[in-house]
Structure formats: structure tokens, C-alpha cells
């Protein structure tokens, strides 16, 4: 073991200097010092670099489309549509691959974001007088998206042995969202009716089936999610 005369302490770390004062140390004859802690290895920041590159590319693309739109202005803000898609790919790409948020929640977020994108596209690509009637996004887009996501979550729940219960809450959320196009059609906001009815029916049936066959799981999962 070594000794630091300045600090009056014995040093067991294998170093030429005192870790306290960084001064010279006296080597003792028994000299037994060890590498007490693992050696430093620089952390790889590959993930951070990827995030930075993706974000920079997204910001550049958004700015470029907005600029081109302004420079070639023909009375239509088409860059708002393209920017929406770039924004979606950027934010939700990072959300999907870079966070440890539950897959169920990611799916709900994706369903909501894709719906918003379609409505945005529908509203901005049509004539301005159709702004109040976002017809195809609501009558076709929304039902198809929610039907697909409800089916996806159902497949996950049926195929998973572990953690199935964790999807119950998200499945219910998607099913409730799945009723929205039907409600909007009922209020005459879009046509045709059939896709909305199919999605609404599948939502209701899914809720009923899950409640009947997984009653205990549903009860306990809701108890956990809503505990105060």
C-alpha cells in the first residue's frame, strides 16, 4: 500500500499520485495496490447521434418545403400537408424506436396521429368550402385505421402469453375511439355509413368479448389504471 505524506493517508488504489491532493506518493515496501474500480471506457453515443441526425433532417425538410411553398405560392398551403407527414415520421419514429413507452400506448398514439394527418390532408387538399366536411378522412380513413389498430391489438392480446393484460386498457381506448366515426356519420358529417358501422360494431363486440372472457383482468387492470 502507498502513502501520501501531504494528506497523511494510505492509498490502496493503483496510481502514481494521491487521489486527494494529486501529489507525489511514497511507495511502501509491501506495495500492494489494486485496481479497485473498473477502468473507464468512453460511452458510445451512437443512438444520440442518430436522433440528432434524424431531427436535423426533419427540420431541414420542413423548412425546405415551407420555403418552396412560399416561393411558388399558388394560393394553397400544400407544405402544411407535407410538413405534417414529416413531423409524424420524425416525432413518432423517435417515439416508437427511442422510448420505452408501452407498445399499447404507442399504438393508440399512432392511431390518433394518423387520423389527425388524414383529416389535415383532407381538409387542406379539398376546396376550402369543404373544410367543415372532412368527408373521406372521417367516413373511410378513421374507420379503417381504428379497425386495423383494434385488430392489431386483439392479435397481440391473443398471441401473447405474458403481459396480455397490459393491453386491455389500450384496447378499450381504441374501441372508444372506434365509435367516433360512427357518431360523426350520425351527425351527418360524412358519408358513406358502412365503414363506420363495421368499425363501431367491431369496437362494441371487442369490448363485450374482452369484458366477458377477461372480466377479472379488466376489473383489476382498471383498478390499477384509475387508482387514486
Amino acid at each position: 500500500m502507498n502513502y501520501c505524506p501531504e494528506c497523511d493517508v494510505r492509498i490502496s488504489t493503483g496510481s502514481d499520485r494521491c487521489p486527494l491532493c494529486h501529489g507525489e506518493i511514497t511507495r511502501e515496501k509491501d506495495g500492494g495496490t489494486t485496481e479497485t474500480y473498473p477502468r473507464y471506457e468512453p460511452m458510445t453515443r451512437k443512438r444520440y447521434k442518430i436522433i440528432l441526425a434524424v431531427s436535423a433532417a426533419a427540420v431541414f425538410l420542413i423548412l425546405a418545403t415551407v420555403l418552396i411553398n412560399i416561393l411558388t405560392w399558388k394560393g394553397r398551403a400544400w407544405s402544411a400537408i407535407s410538413s405534417g407527414y414529416i413531423l409524424y415520421l420524425w416525432i413518432f419514429g423517435l417515439l416508437t424506436f427511442n422510448t420505452r413507452i408501452h407498445t399499447g400506448l404507442k399504438l393508440v398514439a399512432h392511431a390518433a396521429a394518423i387520423t389527425a394527418l388524414l383529416i389535415n390532408t383532407n381538409a387542406l387538399s379539398g376546396k376550402y368550402e369543404t373544410l367543415t366536411k372532412v368527408s373521406w378522412a372521417v367516413s373511410w380513413g378513421m374507420p379503417i385505421i381504428f379497425f386495423c389498430f383494434i385488430t392489431a391489438v386483439s392479435v397481440i392480446m391473443l398471441t401473447r402469453k405474458r403481459g396480455r393484460r397490459e393491453y386491455v386498457f389500450f384496447q378499450f381506448s381504441l374501441c372508444i375511439f372506434g365509435l367516433i366515426p360512427f357518431i360523426m356519420v350520425m351527425f351527418g358529417m360524412a358519408k358513406p355509413v358502412l365503414p363506420s358501422i363495421i368499425t363501431a360494431a367491431s369496437s362494441v363486440l371487442t369490448i363485450i368479448a374482452v369484458t366477458i372472457f377477461q372480466r377479472k383482468v379488466v376489473t383489476s387492470e382498471f383498478k390499477r389504471k384509475f387508482h387514486i
Binding site: 500500500m1 501520501c4 494528506c7 497523511d8 493517508v9 494510505r10 492509498i11 490502496s12 488504489t13 496510481s15 494521491c18 487521489p19 486527494l20 491532493c21 494529486h22 489494486t34 479497485t36 474500480y37 473498473p38 477502468r39 473507464y40 471506457e41 468512453p42 460511452m43 420505452r100 408501452h102 400506448l105 405474458r162 403481459g163 393484460r165 397490459e166 377479472k216 383489476s220 390499477r224 389504471k225 384509475f226 387508482h227 387514486i228
Partner: protein, 441 residues
């Protein structure tokens, strides 16, 4: 090859009685940690046992796996509710890893199967790093002692629990997973919170983050006698000494207006009987304002008085009440989690971190069964160091060895130098080791 005794085989073959994964509400103290945790502040602490022989990772992995049914409240993952987070049983395998150079980093849940603790091995060391949201030091220590005990048992060594270890053949008691804050909440008198800014010296941080460790080992008996000579406890003595170091090396203009405030965690199990393994600690601050006539003795006198005045049953219970009452408030309860997160994060950023200069944590004296003692040389406790965090002191005693561990986020090592030199001048023989983190920055 892992050797099993007959009783171990029975234990391993035993299927869980209930397949419904258990869930736990977060205890009162734990509620803040998942919200404020970040890459800069990990809220992770580490307990290390230096063993007599080289550690065998395969056996350690088996020991960690075997402890699952005995410590269900530790083998959990965090889930998000609409109003609060909660813990749910994690059915994946907890991983045992080689010890990394970075101490008490934020736990990467993706690489840790969702668990909030990790066992590490390095040469003759076994360590556990655990998130404060799961438990406090006392709870983690019980879990760690059992893991080490099980490890020795699996090695085929003749160890016996001697009523000092929670063994795997015992069923976990519900009281071990209780929220003792709520149990002892009376709703009566509360303590008014007066939050004042503390002195915080500014030093250059490490280039690559991480924590610099400087660990001193000394005789517990000698340290006790030094403190006894002054008529104080070891914690009081070391707290006063750390304050003294901050005064001695600090900027005098700032010190004249801002007090040096040392945060002292208090194990509430000593005041309110509880066997919980989750969080059950509170903290208080010692606060000393600089004067030119200040000496170590005068700081010690003030510190001692503050310890005596703060560590009373009534004051601690009042503090407990004032902490729990926030959680009980109906408006707070029904506030959606994402709003709670914004409020708590902002509040903690502006109030929580500014009211303390440093922390002194004393885990106390660890008692192991006599049959285990030949295989465990000493223990070490390390706390996390935030970005540019000043040195915090953690101490633990075992078998007449007190380990004084400083963890810091700054290059400067002057506080530790003064601290250990001062103790050496009192006649204490100290053996120092370091991870030499400043060499890498």
C-alpha cells in the same frame, strides 16, 4: 456447477400460488422519483460487499433469481396509471452484469429487462444499484444481505441466518411491502415548510459526466471514540466536518449570505416501528451561516443542537404528516398524471435541488451472521452524483470498518482532501481508494 440442497430444490420447484401479477401503489416518498429522474439525476444508490474470494457470476445470477419470491416488491416494473404511477410484478429475469465504470447511472430499463435494480460483479465485489423509487437504504440492505447470503449458500458454504437475514424459506410479510408513511399518518399537526436557498460552490464538472468516487476506510471504534471525545455522535461529527470543509474552501462573500445546509436522511423505522422494505425515511437539514470567528468546534456545537432539535418524535411525525397530506389532497389525487409530472418537475427543479449544499447518509452498522463474516470483508455505500454535484458523503460500518464514501460530479477534490486530512490529524488511520474519475476528464 450450481449445487442445490434438497430444500433449495423444493423452493425452486414451488410454483407461484397466484398467477395474477401483484401490483403496488408507490409509497409517499417514491411518488416523486419517477417524475424527477433524468440522465443528470439518477436517484440510484449502490451498496457493495467486498468478498473474500472472486465472485462467480453464474452463482450470483442464480441467487438473484432465487430471491424473487421472497422480495416481490423489488421484482417490479413501473407502469403508468391515469392519476399515479404504480409498480407491477415483472416476470422477466433480472440481469447480473459486470460492474460498469460509471457509478449509479440512471438505470436503462431497456437493457435491464424493466427492473429498477441491477446486481454487478467485479473481481471480489458484489454490488447492487437500486432506484430510490423502490426502496431506501435500509430496505435495499435487507434485500442485498439476502442475495449475498443466498450466493454463499449456493456456493455450498456453511452459512446460517442467525435471525439476521430474511431467508428464502420465509414467506414475505405484507408489512414488508406496506407504505409506512400512510400507516403513521395521523393528519394532526403538520410542519410548516420554510425552503431557503443553500450555499452551492461552483466547480468544473466532468467532461463525460459520471461520478468521481473517493472512499476512505477507517476503524469504527476509533472514529466513535473521536466523536465521543467531543460529546457527539459519528454522524453529527462528520456532518459538522463536511460543513467545516465547505466553509474553509468556500467563497466567503457567498457564504456570508447563504448557509451551508447539509441534508440528513433519517431512517423512520427507528421512530415508528415498521418492517417495511420500501421507502420509510425522511430528511432534515442542518444549516450553518458563516462568521469570521467560526471554528470546527463552533460548527459542531450548532450541528449537535440542530440534530437534537430535529430528531424528536414529534417533529418527525409532523414532517411525515405534512408530506402525506399533499398526497391525500383530493385535488392532487384527481389531477391527471401528466399534469402532476409538470408541476412536480418544475417544483423540484426550482426548490428541491437548491435547498441543500450536500448530503450525509449514514446507513449504520451492518450486522451479519457470524457464519457469513469470514466471507464478507467490508461494505460500501455510494450515492449518485448529479451533474456538477458537490461531494456527498455516504457511510456504512461493518466489522469495525467504517467506509466513508464521497461521490461527486466535479473535478475538484479539495473537500475530500481536507476532510480526510482533518480526520487523520485526529489520529485516525485512513486507507483511501478512488475511481480516479478526474483522470478521464
Amino acid at each position: 456447477m450450481v449445487r442445490y440442497a434438497a430444500k433449495d430444490m423444493v423452493l425452486l420447484m414451488k410454483k407461484p400460488e397466484n398467477h395474477e401479477p401483484k401490483w403496488y401503489k408507490l409509497d409517499n416518498a417514491a411518488k416523486i422519483y419517477p417524475v424527477v429522474v433524468s440522465a443528470k439525476d439518477s436517484y440510484v444508490f449502490r451498496i457493495t460487499a467486498n468478498m473474500k474470494d472472486e465472485v462467480r457470476p453464474d452463482i450470483l445470477q442464480q441467487a438473484v433469481n432465487d430471491c424473487r419470491d421472497r422480495f416481490p416488491a423489488f421484482y417490479v416494473k413501473l407502469r403508468r396509471g391515469l392519476f399515479w404511477y404504480y409498480y407491477e410484478a415483472n416476470e422477466k429475469e433480472p440481469l447480473v452484469k459486470p460492474e460498469p465504470a460509471y457509478v449509479c447511472r440512471r438505470i436503462d430499463l431497456r437493457k435491464n429487462n424493466g427492473f429498477y435494480f441491477t446486481h454487478f460483479y467485479y473481481k471480489k465485489r458484489i454490488s447492487i444499484e437500486i432506484f430510490h423509487g423502490i426502496c431506501d437504504g435500509a430496505g435495499a440492505l435487507e434485500f442485498f444481505k439476502t442475495t449475498v447470503y443466498r450466493y454463499l449458500e449456493l456456493l455450498g458454504l456453511p452459512v446460517l441466518p442467525e435471525n439476521l437475514i430474511l431467508t428464502l424459506d420465509q414467506k414475505p410479510e405484507p408489512a414488508e411491502a406496506e407504505d409506512s408513511y400512510n400507516k403513521y399518518y395521523s393528519g394532526e399537526e403538520r410542519r410548516k415548510r420554510i425552503i431557503t436557498k443553500a450555499y452551492k460552490p461552483c466547480h468544473k464538472g466532468f467532461l463525460h459526466g459520471g461520478a468521481g468516487l473517493i472512499v476512505g476506510k477507517a476503524s469504527s471504534e476509533k472514529l466513535h471514540s473521536i466523536a465521543r471525545e467531543k460529546g457527539v455522535t459519528v454522524t453529527q461529527y462528520l456532518t459538522a466536518l463536511l460543513s467545516y470543509c465547505y466553509f474553509k474552501l468556500g467563497e466567503k462573500e457567498k457564504l456570508g449570505t447563504l448557509p451551508v445546509k447539509i441534508t440528513i436522511p433519517v431512517n423512520m423505522r427507528r421512530y415508528c416501528p415498521s418492517t417495511t422494505l420500501r421507502n420509510f425515511s425522511l430528511f432534515f437539514h442542518t444549516s450553518v451561516l458563516y462568521t469570521s470567528e467560526m471554528t470546527f468546534e463552533s460548527i459542531l456545537e450548532v450541528t449537535k443542537k440542530q440534530f437534537i432539535s430535529e430528531l424528536t418524535d414529534k417533529k418527525l411525525r409532523d414532517t411525515l404528516n405534512s408530506n402525506v397530506v399533499i398526497e391525500k389532497n383530493i385535488a392532487v389525487r384527481f389531477l391527471p398524471l401528466f399534469i402532476k409530472k409538470i408541476i412536480l418537475k418544475t417544483g423540484y427543479k426550482y426548490i428541491g435541488t437548491r435547498s441543500s449544499t450536500a448530503t450525509v447518509t449514514n446507513l449504520g452498522n451492518i450486522e451479519l451472521p457470524n457464519s457469513m463474516m469470514p466471507y464478507v470483508i467490508d461494505f460500501e455505500l455510494n450515492s449518485a452524483a448529479g451533474k456538477r454535484s458537490n461531494p456527498n458523503l455516504s457511510l456504512v460500518s461493518y466489522n469495525d470498518i467504517t467506509t466513508l464514501s464521497f461521490s461527486r460530479g466535479i473535478l475538484y477534490t479539495g473537500y475530500e482532501k481536507l476532510f480526510f486530512s482533518f480526520l487523520a490529524k485526529q489520529g485516525l488511520k485512513i486507507e483511501v481508494q478512488s475511481n480516479l474519475w478526474e483522470d478521464y476528464s
